[in-house]
Amino acid sequence: MADMTHDTLAAAGPARPARRRLRLSTIGDHAILIAGALLMVAPLLMLVQMSTVPDAEIMRTGPSLAIGDRLWPNVRAALTESMSFSGRNTGLAMFRNSMILGLGFAVGKIVVAMMAAYAIVYFRLRFATLAFWAIFTTLLLPLEVRIVPSYEITQRLGLLNTWTGLIVPLIASATATFFFRQFFMSVPEELVEAARIDGAGPVKFFVDILVPLSRTMIAAMFIIMFVYGWNQYLWPTMIVTEDDRITLVQGIKQITQGLEGGQIPEYGRSNILAILAVLPPVLVVLFFQRWFVKGLTETDK
């Protein structure tokens, strides 16, 4: 942000009036941006505040400006204490499960989509176009529409309560296939031909040339698919009935269910879990941000 301001000012040159005008508008821009950022961050800050005070006080007063001393006990409880008698669904275990789901989705979807797009774009398949449109049409059928048959197949294959059952049925991605197809089609034909003459077969071309060229696109897809997998709720809820594969998103719900039981729900603990659930997607976005923008806007060819 500071850099940008500096650049705009420098670009404005030595003319004084221009500089003053620019500064005014910059202040306006910043005011809007700061207000927007506060609006976004406020709920998160409330979560933090609420997890520092006893749960009973939240029931009484709701969010306030008071900072209590319960933060550390809540964090410890959230991370290490189990929510049921099995003792296998601590916060850390759920975090790990969410991670497996997010990474499994991201990596699996990217691999499958790239290979599908590669086949469609580079091989003379008789029904390539038809296959592509068939894949594309599945965009019209989101998980919620086909969840019953999907569940049934998974169940009949005996994949309930397994990582395979959680990840594989959702691993085909029309969106990613579509993006990779568009990207592959923009790779110059001569590159393929030069590689052929250089003795690179289909696998070598894919690994040595196409994958490295797609790295920004892969990063972009990784963010989208990781967040998608991380935030899955409905599908894991159906497939997983045992505690040891429960994800963070499911866990938060379980804790607040205490409310329906008549006791005071463990707000502090679930707030910490909520923060924990937000962190990885944020970190992934921060880490891949530069590539993400590049992947969707530029082409490096």
Partner: protein, 347 residues
């Protein structure tokens, strides 16, 4: 090193376009052959069939003694340089040049040695660890050359390799490529639409038009004895003057002009008469050249105007005094080329 033989090679694209009509041609061992013609005449198609990037519809293609119709491009012992270089953008120059060797299972030491050799030959030593995007067009073209020569193939194929460069660099690279080819002695087929490139680089030129070979010959033959009006007007800048005329009472006569010379053996009817702009003699003779524009080109000048009622261009050296307006001009008999008015073929 190898010769290349095309035996009635033909190409029909799936859509039904006949891009190359049956063509028979032999490229000699070590020769630099240029395929030249206007855009869309089938040059690239012909070259790509030789490379194996395009299926051959009919006919037989031999590289050396081997029939290669069904041989994979990688196994034809060829290298190709593309118009847009087709470098691998994510690889360093070193890896770009060495990629083909690596795929063929060369040892790391051998790759390093050969890449270094090729880089030295092309003045690329200082850039080996850069990416292609950090280099200029001319340097990228050199990398593409390096990728071709490093494998020491039997045949180089070039598809308009200089078209993306500016004029000055193009002239320079022309000489570089030609010198390199002389030095290596590798048989080369070079595609271009630029007749200057064809004239300056070729051992022999093949002029293509509409998927057909119009003429095969050395640059001098093509220039001085064009086989058709197409070749006459395509090769040379400015092109040969083509004038309409007729056989009349045992002589050849320009339309609305005096007799030029005796006609060969009792012909009659219309004819096309060609003469190179530099073969005319200004200030003498019995034709009238009405000059309306003088183009100054330093070492020489071009005079544009009309002869009779037909467009005409004359080329004169810089010491010759010139002026606009009507002036006498001579068209020497020996410099005239006669073409059939209908077919355009040389008589």
């Amino acid at each position: 090193m190898a010769s290349v033989t095309l035996d009635a090679v033909r190409k029909v694209y799936p859509g039904g376009t006949e891009a190359v009509t049956p063509t028979t041609l032999t490229i000699r061992d070590g020769e630099f052959l240029v395929l030249v013609g206007p855009s869309g005449c089938g040059k690239s198609t012909l070259l790509r069939m030789i490379a194996g990037l395009e299926d051959i519809t009919e006919g037989e293609l031999r590289i050396g003694d081997r029939i290669v119709n069904d041989v994979d491009p990688a196994d034809r012992d060829i290298a190709m340089v593309f118009q847009n270089y087709a470098l691998y953008p994510h690889m360093t120059v070193r890896r770009n040049i060495g990629y083909g060797l690596r795929n063929r299972g060369a040892s790391a030491g051998e790759i390093a040695r050969k890449v270094d050799e090729a880089a030295a030959m092309l003045n690329l030593r200082d850039y080996l660890d850069r990416k292609p995007s950090q280099l200029s067009g001319g340097q990228r073209q050199r990398i593409a050359m390096g990728r071709a020569i490093v494998r020491d193939p039997a045949l180089f194929l070039f598809d308009e390799p200089l078209s993306n460069l500016d004029a000055k660099l193009r002239g320079q690279m022309r000489i570089e490529i030609r010198a390199l080819q002389r030095r290596l002695g590798t048989t080369s087929i070079y595609v271009t639409h630029d007749q200057v490139e064809a004239m300056t680089m070729a051992d022999r030129i093949v002029v293509l038009n509409g998927g057909r070979v119009e003429q095969v010959g050395t640059p001098a033959e093509i220039y001085h004895a064009p086989a058709s009006t197409f070749v006459a007007s395509f090769m040379g800048a400015p092109p040969m003057n083509l004038l309409t005329g007729r056989f009349e009472s045992g002589a050849i006569r320009l339309d609305h002009g005096p007799a030029l010379r005796a006609a060969p053996g009792g012909r009659s009817g219309p004819i096309t008469i060609g003469i190179r702009p530099e073969d005319v003699r200004l200030g003498e003779g019995d034709h009238v050249f009405d000059v309306d524009l003088v183009e100054e080109l330093g070492a020489h000048r071009l005079l544009h105007g009309r002869l009779g009622d037909q467009h005409f261009t004359a080329h004169v050296l810089k010491d010759m005094p010139v002026r606009e307006g009507r002036q006498p001009i001579a068209l020497p008999d020996a410099a005239l080329a006669l073409f059939d008015a209908q077919s355009g073929q040389r008589l």
